[in-house]
Amino acid sequence: MKLKIKTFGISRDILGGREVELDMNGTSVGDLRKTLSTRYPTLDKLNSLFIAVNHEYAPDEKVLSDKDEIALIPPVSGG
């Protein structure tokens, strides 16, 4: 499945773009994690990495569609 992924903070530096197209194996958020980890091993060094689907933190079981707005959420540091 081909997905467009929004990136923020340090994940933008690692993926190299505000929105990155990714061809992934599988259909779930967990599958996306695996693809990302293989393609961008530096992501594993972060304190945490959440994946947001349609502006909500998504669990690994969540099934993705190519219409979803998907974003990488590295450790937040607002305030």
């Binding site: 903070g9 972060l46 304190n47 947001a52 937040v76 607002g78 305030g79």
Partner: protein, 136 residues
């Protein structure tokens, strides 16, 4: 009021947005850019937000706070873009009928905001920069 803005935050406006005659107590937290972090001089900060999700997450925090305390009003403003030391990054204002609740609710909101709201800051020092909290 939930606001994410590139413009300098007007504290008075945020406080007024949170105030209500039934209130009695208003607690306001202002987070400013420190001129030092672990002994290094901070030249500037850059904040970025995933705006629609940030607003949704702040709304969830407010909803949770409203379940625990009698909020009569609240307002949150977070700045994005480039900030210099001394500038205001965030303002949280909460009004409640009684004093203790205003402190508890305001502290809960700013603590939660720092944990769950998708906003990131990069610190720029004289000799480099880093995304805050990214790495162990």
């Amino acid at each position: 009021m939930i606001e994410i803005t590139e413009q300098p935050i007007e504290v008075q406006k945020v406080i007024e947005a949170a105030s209500l005659k039934e209130a009695g107590a208003i607690n306001t937290f202002i987070g400013t850019v420190r001129n030092q972090t672990s002994g290094k001089n901070v030249v500037k900060l850059e904040y970025e937000a995933y705006e629609p999700m940030a607003i949704a997450e702040i709304q969830k925090i407010i909803d949770r706070a409203a379940q625990q305390w009698s909020l009569t009003g609240w307002a949150i403003s977070h700045r994005t873009g480039t900030l210099l030391p001394g500038e205001i990054a965030v303002v949280v204002a909460v009004s409640t009928p009684h004093r203790k609740e205003s402190f508890a609710a305001c502290q809960f909101i700013i603590d939660s905001l720092k944990q769950t709201v998708p906003i990131w800051k990069k610190e720029f020092f004289e000799d480099g920069d880093q995304w805050v909290s990214a790495h162990p």
